[in-house]
Amino acid sequence: MPDLRIDVRSLGRVSVVEPVGFINAHTARDFESVIQELMERKQHNIVINCKDLAYIASAGLGAIMGFIDQIRENDGDIRMCSMNETVFNIFEVLGFTHLYSIFDTEEKAIRSFEEEPK
């Protein structure tokens, strides 16, 4: 099994990024490339579905931090869903839970974008 596989799906105005594995210094570049590519395609409404994300280290969190301002300037956002306890803990430890919207399910995360005015 590879350390990280990233599936991307487009659902209307929202792109769902689904990392399978872990995001650390060894794999973060792949994760960054996926987000970068979405931004280049003007896909600024992004949900990261963490259901199969074992853990995320600073390299991955730094990637999100690096992109978030540009994405929000384009009226988009990066929202998370379906975090396991390990991933949620690290968001909590760093205070990221106040900076990013986190949802229980992918459906709720997608709906949060759809409920916003276009």
């Binding site: 210094a25 853990y55 280290a57 600073s58 931090m65 690096g66 390990t86 803990n89 760093l94």
Partner: protein, 150 residues
Amino acid sequence: MSSEPVAKTRVEETVEIHLPGMTKHLHAIRMLCSTLAESMGFQKKDSETAALAVEEALTNVIEHSYHGQEGQKMRVIFEMEGDKFTVRILHTGDQIDDSQYVLLDDLSHFYEQKKRGGLGILIMKRCMDEVTYKSSPDQNECCMIKYLKK
């Protein structure tokens, strides 16, 4: 048969790993750290955060002490004694200077400055009870300690 209570002695256990500084090994060390912490009685949440701190410290050594040059020597020593879990990371690269991250405790400052590079140090400080750095002519060391909460 004697019914005298057996005096409990503090036994220190040490696990030492030598490895080349390569990011592909980070996950394995993380798994080992988490397993050792759990064997001491740490809750899963605490063993996972300790493991993440160790992974961040190793990443810093590879990226900053060895400037991304993979394959340099690193030594990780896990010491388990009573309620004290010590992880020492020894290397011959540049010493990490975390003094520039002194303001990291102030998160708002951190985000304003977008100190993306200091995120690993912030994780280490928040996940461990003590983080110190030592230098000697032969090698540099990052020492992290986490105490088992009763």
